[in-house]
Amino acid sequence: MAVSPLIVPPADALHPHPQKTAPSPLKRQTSAVPSSNGTPALVRPPGQDIQTGLSMSLDRVEQMNEQEKRKYIKDRKLGEGTYAIVYLGRSRQDSTQHVAIKKIKKQKEFRDGMAPDAVRELKYLQELHHPNIINLISAFSSKDQNLNLVLEFLPYGDLEALIRDVTHVRYGAADIKAWMGMLSRAIWFCHENRVLHRDIKPNNLLIAADGEVKLADFGLARSFAEPGHRMTANVITRWYRPPELLFGARHYSGAVDIWAVGLVFAELIIRAPFLPAENEVEQISLICKQIGTPTEENWPGVTKLKEYIVPSEVTPVWERSAYMGRFGAVGVDGVDLLVRTLALDPRKRITAHEILEHKWWRMDPKPTRKEDLPRGGGSEEKMGSDLKRRPGLDDESNPRGAKVARKLDFGAAK
């Protein structure tokens, strides 16, 4: 319980000091208005100096926003996703300091104000501060009420690009262990803060200048539900989607993210998606074939799930030894961890906390130091590949799911 009386209000939340070094604007905003001494004199309304010639001045909040916005200069475009365009930005004060400015697109089909992705992403990134989670530096609105998120700049692409680039990028078990460690810590931190990410995949794991992997894209995240609360099953990109969601479960837990973590792990090892199905029915078949058929024996209650349907030919759940051929590069203990993340029954699936306690981390080889990890080609090359991966027509109700599948078609050896 956070009842400790040691928690006192931060000294100066509304009247902070001027910026010293590393600006962290969300935490400390410089108040635009010189503090008045309480004399209600007829002063010029604040903001008129900025907005000369305009009939309406900016109020205090608008001024804060204006200041925030003016801290950055937008450079070129870095990439584009379904709901945002990402620009490279520079700090006006220190032009060597780069940021990524993610400008949320106006969504024509969403007429109900700020779009869900943006609400979720802002909500969770405001709260989650962790070395392996992308850092939200600031947020501001630009003209015509476009929402902009200022994020730390992650110049070395994402894990998906690394995995696919078999001609230029070589990596081994120690590197996989380092990346998996960072991913596991990120997801542990989310769950510890009662946040489900719901879109874990290599493409959402970005690489920082120092090699650190950062979990990004919280556009589908949500808080853990109260018991009994129904959630949508239509989350997580199909190839990484766990069986309970494919069977339409409306009550689920952090275990959904863990399955996706397991598939990222598998993909890092074999350098191709482990379960790349064309549609949901095929996704289930593939799970049954490669991991085992969910049945009442290995997953009590599974047959009661609304959309439970499996191929008639039942495949017994594969033993650890069956994985050694394809995934043996990470050793017996690595395979043990992999198999635990891929437990069919979400209640038996390993938790993020347990992952961090797994013995694989302490076995040889030691995880590569982050500075020594292989990294992607950098932002130029990255941009090229992103342009190719622009979304096209969507044929599914969840545009993210559909789009991603198409995206991966480019790189994946089918």
Partner: protein, 404 residues
């Protein structure tokens, strides 16, 4: 426990929205003063006698309009409380959940720390707050359906305020509430094993009732953590149980010998590992010191909540009270409100127009492209929304050839 405190310190609720009473009062006073000067300047600059301020602007003999009487910070505070009670009633009416109502109330109160009631219309902002609270809590209602619940048929009135609210709450959408802590507390009390189930249930029910009103209509969220608020509510419901819980939590209890090695050590929990708890005497002293501090804090919070117990709902919706206390302030407000900002739809339109007129290049688009289309877009902005948008699309699609 320590880790939970540490986690709370990371939250936006703590970083951006926790204040001492003095800080809070100063912030509100500042909002009030700034609103006064800005509205006064506005009224002085345009001696037009149009619309809502017409009474107030009766020109003096020398032709300049006399200024209206402004609301005091105390009057503003009364209005904020009144409108929070209205917000909660609106939430009941729209049948949104308790968390949504509480989040909506928190947004509304936060918004009116840096903004004056004289600047932006509370009647609209309370619905905006509720609407956005739904979204912040992961429910995404259709705006049309939502406003129709309140007999409104202008969704744009509410949507126009959404952005304003988001800025006003500094894009921090996560509100930490005491509800879960209450569930935890009742479980903890049950685990003690010697308290009647009935008593626990009654206390939990009453505490919940309090949490659904008292902290929302007071400044409790600005001063206390969710657990402190929960304990204060529990203490109002059943003081004995709250004290029992506090002593239990902060008193050193030897771990049962059998629950040893199997229990996984909490990763973020370093300060409370068993090794540190070994010196019992020391622990007992620290425990009791902390306990006394906690008791003091909870007591202060309790006093705050006690001023607005759930029974006060009736007070705020009482007609006589309204006539005697609220109506006079509303009349005053009608004369001193900001003529430019009370109409959210108009305000949004004006802002967009301003944005469109603004031609300074470093604004919004990358600086490194001097293409004519881009410049056009910057010059005409969104005053010509459709046309410009299409041009922008053409521009960004450019590298891939024509959009086919």
């Amino acid at each position: 426990m320590a880790s939970e405190d540490a986690r709370y310190r990371q939250s936006s609720q703590f970083r951006l929205w926790s204040f001492s009473p003095a800080q809070l009062a100063a912030a509100r006073e500042k909002a009030n003063i700034l609103a006064q000067s800005s509205i006064a300047a506005r009224l002085a600059s345009t001696p037009n006698t149009s619309a809502p301020t017409s009474n107030a602007n009766t020109p003096d003999r020398d032709g300049t309009p006399s200024l209206p009487e402004f609301l005091t910070p105390a009057e503003e505070a009364t209005m904020v409380s009144f409108y929070v009670s209205e917000l909660l009633r609106a939430g009941d009416h729209a049948e949104v959940g308790e968390v949504v109502k509480a989040t909506g109330a928190a947004f509304f109160r936060r918004f009116y720390i840096t903004n004056s009631i004289m600047t932006y219309p509370p009647q609209e902002m309370l619905i905006v707050s509720l609407f956005f609270a739904c979204k912040a809590e992961g429910i995404f209602p259709r705006i049309g359906d939502f406003v129709s619940k309140f007999g409104r048929d202008r969704p744009d009135e509410i949507l126009a305020g959404e952005y304003l609210l988001c800025q006003g709450i500094r894009f921090a959408f996560d509100v930490k509430h005491p509800f879960r802590a209450l569930k935890g507390a009742s479980m903890e009390l049950r685990r003690l094993g010697d308290i009647e189930e009935q008593r626990i249930n009654a206390a939990e029910r009453r505490a919940r009732e309090i949490l659904n009103f008292s902290p929302l209509i007071t400044d409790a969220y600005f001063h206390y953590t969710p657990s402190q608020i929960m304990l204060a509510a529990l203490s109002l419901a059943d003081r004995g149980l709250a004290e029992r819980l506090i002593s239990h939590t902060f008193h050193y209890v030897a771990p049962p010998t059998d629950s040893g090695p199997g229990t996984p050590m909490a990763i973020g929990d370093a300060p409370t590992t068993r090794r540190e708890l070994k010196i019992e005497d020391k622990e007992a002293i620290i425990g009791s010191q902390i306990r006394d501090k906690v008791l003091g804090t909870v007591e202060a919070c309790r006093d705050m909540l006690a001023k607005e117990l759930p029974e006060r709902r009736e007070h705020w919706s009482n007609k006589a009270v309204f006539k005697a206390q609220i109506q006079p302030i509303r009349k005053k407000l009608a004369k001193c409100r900001d003529p430019d900002r009370y109409n959210l739809v108009e305000l949004q339109r004006a802002r967009r127009e301003q944005a469109g007129n603004r031609s300074d290049s470093e604004e919004d688009e990358p600086e490194d492209n001097g293409r004519s289309l881009e410049k056009d877009a910057a010059v005409f902005g969104d005053a010509l929304p459709r046309d410009t948008k299409r041009r922008k699309v053409v521009k960004t699609e450019d590298p891939f050839g024509p959009p086919l």
